[in-house]
Amino acid sequence: MAATYAPPVQALIDELGRLPGIGPKSAQRIAFHLLKLPTPDAERLATAIVDAKAKVRFCDLCFNVAEDLLCGICADDRRDATVLCVVEEARDIVALEKTGEFRGRYHVLLGAISPIEGIGPEQLKVRELLTRLADASVTEVIVCTNPNVEGEATAMYLARLLKPLGLTVTRLASGLPVGGDLEYADELTLGRALEGRRAMD
């Protein structure tokens, strides 16, 4: 049976269904939830989306979300300009900043290499990364891509690309989750944790 919703409802369902992680069923559920909202609530959501799109842009340098030409981190002179941390998405910066351990700057690829999806380096901000590295002020690149197949492919690609430039290229050690039991660790994680072991002082 074909869809029998009124066109505005169907349009709403279709738009919601295009969001990541939202299937047709969830799209319907959210659409009907939105229709039941008091008008001011719905308008607040619409305004928030429009505002964010109008005011937030990608940083010219690192592709983090920014309100200006440069994001807060790129604009901050106190950050260490010799170390660059490469991440897949801007939300990874938030996670890394929360650790308070990193004082360098970032570069957001806006994705990861995914052979299965046909996403190669040219679809990512790799060329822009090379341009940033051209002036030789950066001496170390830390690759912080996700510890999954796409993240690994991206990390290996970047290592191959950047090592000939004479940079130190490091990979985030992917260790054991704090709070987890060793016996439950899978072989990949455990192997990685062994590789990334360090001397105890």
Partner: protein, 245 residues
């Protein structure tokens, strides 16, 4: 819900909701299966990195109507040897992409499963530019579309009377100089392809990388793409040669 046990290779995964994934597997006994792995994207998930593409697993699953649910997982072969090398990784992904297109949902395909497990192990232990092409030709042969390589599909003349110089995807075989159409093929590439399909796979895998092995690769890719009627995404990525020298 029925609980069942099987072994399988992860072909690909899709994100589902906040923290779940849909895992597409080729299993030994149940063909291609789609299953939900709950909470797998959380760093503390008990599944850990076991449900990534290329993992060969022993699984305990609940049977669902559309999607099964992964209950327990143990690793049989870890993809670690492939994850340490970009070429091997893309080659492994190129094989599972083909399997995803060839295998049917819940149609047992034990031969395809054995071939895939074998090819992934070979890729990890003795990588060769011919692992993927050989896998593609073997898949085609098992699908009943073994190419004709010893006589012209046009006039039937065999070597040495005929000089076989071309390969036609539609006809599924080689052509002599006077019947030629399709794409040109060298005698070296033909020799290697015959080894692959003629029970001399091990000897073929020892062939050093050359323009002929590259040609065998392009021919096998074209043949499998013709068979599944679509372009392979993962192959396009590494065969375009866009990786740094």
């Amino acid at each position: 819900m029925t609980l069942y046990r099987d072994t399988g290779v992860v072909l690909r995964t899709y994100k589902l909701g906040e923290a779940d994934r849909i895992i597409v597997l080729l299993t030994a006994g149940h063909g291609k299966v789609r299953a939900v792995a709950k909470g797998v994207r959380k760093t503390k998930s008990r599944f850990g990195g076991r449900l990534e593409p290329l993992c060969h697993l022993s699984l305990l699953m609940y049977e669902g109507r559309n999607l099964d649910v992964v209950s327990q997982v143990d690793t049989i072969d870890s993809p670690a040897p492939l994850l340490s090398d970009l070429d091997r990784l893309t080659q492994g992904l190129a094989m599972v992409e083909v399997v995803d297109h060839v295998a049917m949902d819940r149609e047992p395909a034990p031969a395809l499963y054995r071939m895939l497990v074998g090819a992934l192990r070979t890729l990890g232990t003795r990588p060769s530019p011919l692992v993927v092409p050989a896998f593609y030709w073997k898949v085609l042969a098992s699908e009943g579309v073994q190419p004709r390589l010893d006589s012209c599909v046009g006039c039937g003349t065999a070597e040495p009377e005929a000089v076989l110089v071309a390969f036609d995807m539609h006809e599924g075989g080689v052509l002599c100089r006077s019947c030629r159409r399709g794409r040109p093929v060298s005698s070296e590439a033909l020799r290697i392809t015959r080894m692959i399909l003629g029970g001399q796979l091990n000897a073929a895998l020892d062939e050093p990388a050359s323009s002929a092995t590259a040609e065998v690769g392009h021919l096998a890719t074209a043949a499998i793409e013709h068979h599944i009627d679509r372009r392979l995404k993962s192959v396009a990525m590494f065969e375009r040669g866009d990786r740094p020298a």
